[in-house]
């Protein structure tokens, strides 16, 4: 891509109410009021025909399929309207969330119940109850819908094998271990479980996506930096290299919310990741909300130095917008704090991109994106954030050129 500072999404958007309700029951025209408003904003011209067809559908399967397809279309158009250059899969509207969506497709795993993630957020945690295998395709039906409607490039985010294993209870895999030390049993179980996930679930999935036309797969591995010990990092590299082996497409890694030294450790291992063309990382969360190109103002981006110094040669997906609750202060010109949201100004995005360019050297290697998926923000907030990212990227292009 010749355009400097292209903008990409990272993954999820919030699910509209009509999408969530429509999966459970028939919708009324009132349920689609919000969808109608957004249809106008997003230029979905055949909304009324689609709504009519959706409301008249008596068959549950057909309705669910139509709702998923329509919400995917909305997600794609939201990204397009805000000026994003790569639309991903339309905000992952066809997935419950990044973990549970995959686990439901795994034979031998059972979802045990929700555990706390943060604040009032939770995730449904699974356990391996027997040797695992793939029940059905995880991402291909979504990708086929995306292909129908996407006007721009498409990147398919998938949940990485290391994260899937790390966020699951080992169950069967730990009970079959015989080492006397509980710690050794855990380590042995993790490796066996991980290599099974790669071979039985992830590689077949990538094969199917590539066969269906996918050209860029983003592997989400947020769990990797939570275990910065060499043994764990080597395991991650082994699983990554095994995952991408033999496939002819672009691969990128997305890893966010590391421990303090997480990115430093990831940087050491990043050059060992085969075919890893891009690292999409979270920085805005740890940055100040004031304008400036000095190191103090842009303290959140200092970890980029580790990747450059370690010799990582690929692109960077630069987190330039916060995706969680924000209740701090915002300096003049840097954005607006609205309720529990921070809407970064284009100027703040610009400064973040230009500061990162100073570190990376080559502006052609930098993409702009939110820190992570925007699923915890409302569509209004996600729209405002993405629109300002694209404006900020434009300002950075102007400043650079």
């Amino acid at each position: 891509m010749t355009k400097l500072f292209p903008v990409q999404e990272i993954g999820s958007l919030a699910k509209p109410k009509w999408r969530t309700k429509g999966l459970r029951q028939r919708l009324s025209s009132q349920d689609l009021f919000e969808a109608e408003e957004w249809a106008e904003k997003l230029g979905i011209q055949d909304f009324h025909d689609r709504a009519k067809s959706l409301l008249n559908t008596g068959d549950d399967k057909e309705r669910v399929k139509a709702v998923l397809e329509l919400s995917t279309l909305y997600g794609l158009r939201l990204f397009e309207t805000t000026g994003v250059d790569n639309d991903g899969v339309g905000g992952e509207q066809q997935r419950v969330e990044m973990y549970e969506h995959v686990i439901k497709a795994v034979q031998g795993m059972n979802l045990l119940g929700h555990v706390h993630s943060f604040d009032n957020k939770y995730f449904n945690k699974g356990v391996a109850e027997s040797r695992i295998s793939r029940k059905h395709s995880v991402y291909v039906p979504e990708f086929l819908d995306v292909k129908k409607y996407a006007h721009r490039a498409v990147k398919v985010p998938i949940t990485g094998p290391y994260t899937l294993v790390d966020w699951s209870f080992s169950g069967y895999y730990i009970q079959k271990q015989h080492a006397s030390s509980p710690k050794t049993r855990k380590i042995d179980a993790k490796r066996e479980f991980l290599l099974d996930i790669v071979e039985q679930i992830i590689r077949p999935e990538i094969r199917d996506l590539v066969n269906a036309g996918a050209t860029w797969i983003q592997i989400d591995e947020p769990a990797v930096t939570t275990h910065p010990e060499p043994q764990e990092m080597e395991l991650f590299v082994e699983a990554w290299n095994e995952t991408v082996k033999g496939f002819n497409c672009k691969f990128s890694d997305h890893t966010c919310y590391p421990s303090e030294i997480g990115y430093k450790v990831l940087a050491e291992y990043a050059p060992k990741l085969d075919k890893c063309d891009q690292l999409a990382l979270e920085f805005a969360n740890r940055d100040t909300s004031r304008l400036g190109l000095d190191e103090d103002s842009r303290e959140g981006y200092s970890d980029l130095n580790h990747f450059v110094n370690a010799g990582y040669k690929g692109e960077f997906g630069l987190g330039v917008a916060h995706v969680h609750d924000f209740t701090g202060n915002v300096s003049s010109g840097a954005g607006q704090s609205v309720g529990r949201d921070l809407i970064e100004s284009p100027e703040l995005v610009r400064d973040r991109l230009l500061f990162a360019t100073k570190i990376v050297g080559d502006p052609g290697k930098i993409w702009a994106n939110p820190d992570c998926g925007l699923r915890t923000r409302t569509w209004d907030v996600a729209f405002a954030k993405l629109a300002n990212i694209t404006k900020g990227a434009e300002l950075a292009r102007e400043a650079y050129q």
Partner: protein
């Protein structure tokens, strides 16, 4: 006498409470609805402890959004709300305390820590707080030039929190200090001088404070540190037996102190067999020469669904009886 069983931190919320808090986030339920459920569930957690023969009662800390937050919100010179960090190697997060000024106790509202009114009639009440070293390690220091000064000020502030909670009837304070044994967030592991600072800070919290104190370590191997911890003027020390190799422990000359054995794993769903728990505790007891044992989970049970957490507590209760018989 059979070993006492205790909760060692935040208990998981039920699916019902989880649904309600999610509905609240989506503006589909009111906070008062959440509060009603929180109260009912807190009562259930207390009742469960009664039925399993606990000696010290906790309210389960069901409203705590993370392990640090009530302390964070009780301190001057500390901001939060802009940054989330991962809780060690789990898929859970905490709001990172940002130290922006001299730190001291602010307006401490005991209600943010404890549902004392629901523990009426319970003479022995337990609460779990982050120890001063762990709190300071998991904060971002933007103010203190000297780390030791930060540690001292947090310890002094925590002493005031302890006093307030004592006034609410808390008699047993667990100071959780995972950072003493596990530091995945740092490039180099702490050295002895830092351990000395940390132990000094714990002494500052405990000094002249009412109540009984236990320092709980978890997620890391505490074998080397155990003698130092047992020297502290506290009543007990907690050890994660999923990370600490029993064979590497030294005999502690029949310490009179309580050893809180983290002998069910809060990060794994498999419910430990009571016989295995009792056997493991016996091996520990023989190896270390300690006889005043408490059975607990290695850390907060919030990392497993509530049903499993409750089964793990039941396993501890059965194991305690098995241990007594042998």
């Amino acid at each position: 006498m059979s070993p006492e069983i205790q909760l060692a931190g935040i208990h998981p919320r039920s699916e019902r409470l989880i649904d309600l808090t999610r509905s609240y986030e989506r503006a589909k339920a009111s906070w008062s609805q959440v509060e009603v459920q929180l109260e009912q569930e807190t009562k259930e957690v207390i009742k469960l402890q009664e039925s399993l023969g606990f000696g010290h009662f906790s309210d389960g800390s069901l409203a705590w959004q993370d392990q640090l937050r009530p302390v964070t919100r009780s301190l001057k010179g500390v901001e939060s709300g802009t940054r989330y960090s991962r809780w060690f190697d789990t898929n859970t997060f905490y709001q990172k305390p940002i130290i922006v000024g001299k730190t001291s106790a602010s307006d401490i509202d005991p209600k943010n820590f404890l549902r004392a009114e629901l523990l009426t009639g319970k003479r022995e009440r337990k609460i779990t707080l982050p120890g001063p070293y762990t709190f300071s390690q998991l904060s971002e220091n933007k103010h203190y030039k000297n780390y030791a000064d930060l540690l001292v000020d947090i310890a002094l502030a925590e002493r005031e929190i302890v006093q307030k909670l004592w006034n609410e009837g808390v008699t047993l304070f667990q100071l959780s200090e995972p950072c003493l044994v596990y530091q995945p967030y740092r490039e180099s592991f702490r050295d002895q001088s830092e351990v000395d600072l940390a132990l000094g800070a714990i002494r500052s919290v405990v000094k002249d404070s009412p109540g009984e104190f236990v320092v709980q370590t978890y997620f890391g191997d505490s074998a080397l540190l155990l003698p130092d911890l047992l020297d502290l003027p506290i009543s007990g020390v907690g050890i994660d037996l999923f990370e600490t190799d029993i064979s590497s422990l030294r005999e502690q000359e029949k310490t009179p102190k309580k050893l809180v054995l983290g002998v069910v794993d809060s990060r794994e769903s498999f419910v430990e067999n009571p016989s295995w728990i009792a056997d493991t505790a016996r091996k520990f007891s023989e190896k270390v020469g300690a006889h005043n044992l408490v059975f607990a989970s290695n850390s907060d049970l919030k990392f497993v669904p509530q049903e499993i957490a409750n089964q793990k507590l039941e396993a501890l209760s059965k194991a305690s009886k098995l241990f007594e018989r042998t």
